[in-house]
Subunit: 381 residues, 2 copies
């Protein structure tokens, strides 16, 4: 067999996907697993008929920037919801999930050897996507604040990725913190890439989109996902918003990598945009409320976690345990059939943590899972 | 604004997409355009209801190798249809279109600076995808045969991409030609990457999949597309078949770039796999028959084209015209509202050709379009 490429041979499998695949394989054997490892919340949403969508157009390619009607809806939504104005004709591309949007944007701003800063714990794909661009991921340890970022900037730094609200911390960056990061980006001529996939998973108004602070989007790009907000992770509909020049380069990458997301699903979402949001918004609030109740429960049973108020994730400390985060999660899955994700998948500084997602199970089930985590910490301390 | 990356700033927009966007914009102004530029055939197919699909599973991520049921169906299909055996658990990944499959496979085999051979006219994305891997595209002029490829091999050559059946030639590589290419790949330790997206657009049994000649798939990978064969280009469902080691690297890229194609569409296709094929197979034959009739018509009106018997494309010579292929296509679109694609988009050796797709219009409409091409050649000779 001829050799495989170095960059993909050295790439790491997404840790969350690895554990979810293990879950999947247990389930295939008929075992019931308590799933606290998924990057999605489960919503109760209807599936509207598709036979009233424009047919046969929905079978064919859509505009490679995305279906115009859907871009319009998103522009309206951003204006009213986040106070962000963008031109749907030139400043957005709808992509096959926000993962693809982030990758294609990184391709569009990075030259080989460039450095990209991001905070740990970091979503598993950031460092891998950066490496697939032949650039260098620079993870900032979990105990530093955004005010420490400047000390990580070198002449090779080209971009900062932030995840706001944050998976898996559940934290939200404040307006002044964001302004500070944007000032830093302007001062050092960097791209501030803001992954805002969880922007609707809040129960207060603390969220500010970076695009609001940088109205011309000269230094910023914003990623978001309909997959997350509508509880349809498997439909793979995300997008990137930025200035026309950056979007134009992303467009070229998109044309050669994917062409467009599934037209029929774009069309469905354009048609049912408002309806679906009305259905999912209260459920998003419920998930965040559940998160708050579970935070209180962890305080009660003595589990520690990084502070946060948004999303449906916790980054929980297993510090007293002698097990590595991988050993911990594998044992919890195999002995207790509770599935969570090792912290080490989120950065070198995170080996004493695990990621717990409370979006897919009930309050009681999640409490049961948290009890098992506490028990395993105790057993292995 | 911080700089954009060199690789994407230098990338070319897909020529076919550029012209189809121009068409789209004319249509938005209410102008009726005869479309002979699309990379898809239009089929008359039903849209089955989706409310009997497993719900809510269809909303969520599927296995990052693709829905197991769909992989099984594809394995059966390849066994019976092409005499190709592969393990659906380890030797296939279903992707968001075959474009993504090709890109992720190139990422998985190429190191920066590697050279990749392919024949011109070449599908517009091959050279761009190669460059996005920081590798070097080596287009072989349209008038060379596969027996000339060896002279293009250097110590840096890592792969050969073939498109069989060929877009836009419409030609099919014979068994001996394929065997020769495979022997070459084995001798020089190269990957033979075979894009077989048009494998069902034939009316004889001349098509041989490379995977049949390389049963262990040690030197080969095969790409194919349900989007093309089912007339649902906009659904973005493709796949790559190869040995487990290569597939494993592609899997890692897929996990960080897209996760999975739209689960609901995979589920639909798994459920209606046989039915849809029964509906589209005769229509695929019809399209190829129409192509044959139009070949005869071109002989009659004195248009020249590269020889071929498959697909729904022609690569037509405009040699007597003084116009460049871009000038020719732009004028045909603006004056006659007939949309075709400039040959130059398919390689440096192809500036005296245009690509004509006969999959989306009727026989008579296509004849009308070919007449306009002949007229414009005459007018500009």
């Amino acid at each position: 067999m001829p050799e495989l490429s170095r960059v993909t041979s050295e790439a790491h499998e997404a840790m969350s996907i690895r554990y979810n695949t293990m879950v999947y394989e247990l389930q295939q054997r008929g075992i019931k697993v308590l799933i606290m490892s998924l990057g999605e919340a489960y919503f109760d949403i209807p599936l509207f008929p598709m036979d009233d969508l424009p047919y046969p157009q929905v079978n064919h390619y859509s505009h490679s920037r995305g279906l115009p009607e859907l871009r319009e809806k998103l522009a309206q939504y951003f204006r009213t919801e986040y106070g962000v104005v963008f031109d749907p004709a030139t400043e957005i591309i709808i992509t096959a999930g926000s993962k693809a949007a982030i990758h294609m944007t990184l391709m569009s701003v990075l030259n080989p050897g460039d450095e990209v800063l991001y905070s740990e714990p970091a979503w598993v794909s950031y460092p891998e996507q950066i490496k697939l661009c032949y650039a260098i991921p620079v993870g900032i340890p979990y105990d530093r604040s955004v005010y420490d970022y400047e000390s990580y900037i070198t002449p090779r730094t080209k971009a900062i990725i932030i995840n706001n609200p944050h998976n898996p911390r559940g934290s939200v960056l404040s307006g002044p913190e964001l302004q500070d990061l944007l000032d830093l980006a302007r001062q050092y001529d960097l791209w501030l890439l803001s992954d805002e996939a969880y922007s609707d998973f809040l129960i207060d108004d603390s969220f500010v989109s970076v695009a609001r602070l940088d109205p011309e989007k000269k230094n910023s790009a914003v990623f978001n996902s309909m997959s997350k907000n509508y509880g349809i992770s498997g439909w793979r509909i995300g997008y990137v918003i930025s200035n026309g020049a950056l979007i134009n380069n992303v467009l070229k990458v998109n044309q050669h990598l994917v062409t467009c997301p599934a037209t029929i699903l774009e069309s469905y979402l354009a048609k049912h945009f408002g309806e679906l949001l009305e259905i999912t918004k209260p459920q998003m609030r419920d998930v965040v409320c559940r998160r708050r109740q579970l935070a209180a429960y962890m305080d009660e049973i003595g589990l520690n976690y990084l502070p946060g108020t948004a999303t449906f994730y916790f980054f929980v400390s297993i510090a007293p345990s002698r097990l590595s985060s991988e050993g911990f999660c594998t044992r919890l899955l195999q002995e207790d059939y509770v599935s969570i994700v090792p912290g080490i998948g989120y950065g070198h500084s995170c080996g004493r943590f695990v990621r717990v997602s409370v979006g897919a199970a009930t309050l009681e089930e999640n409490k049961f899972g948290l009890d098992r985590i506490r028990d395993l910490i105790r057993k292995t301390s």
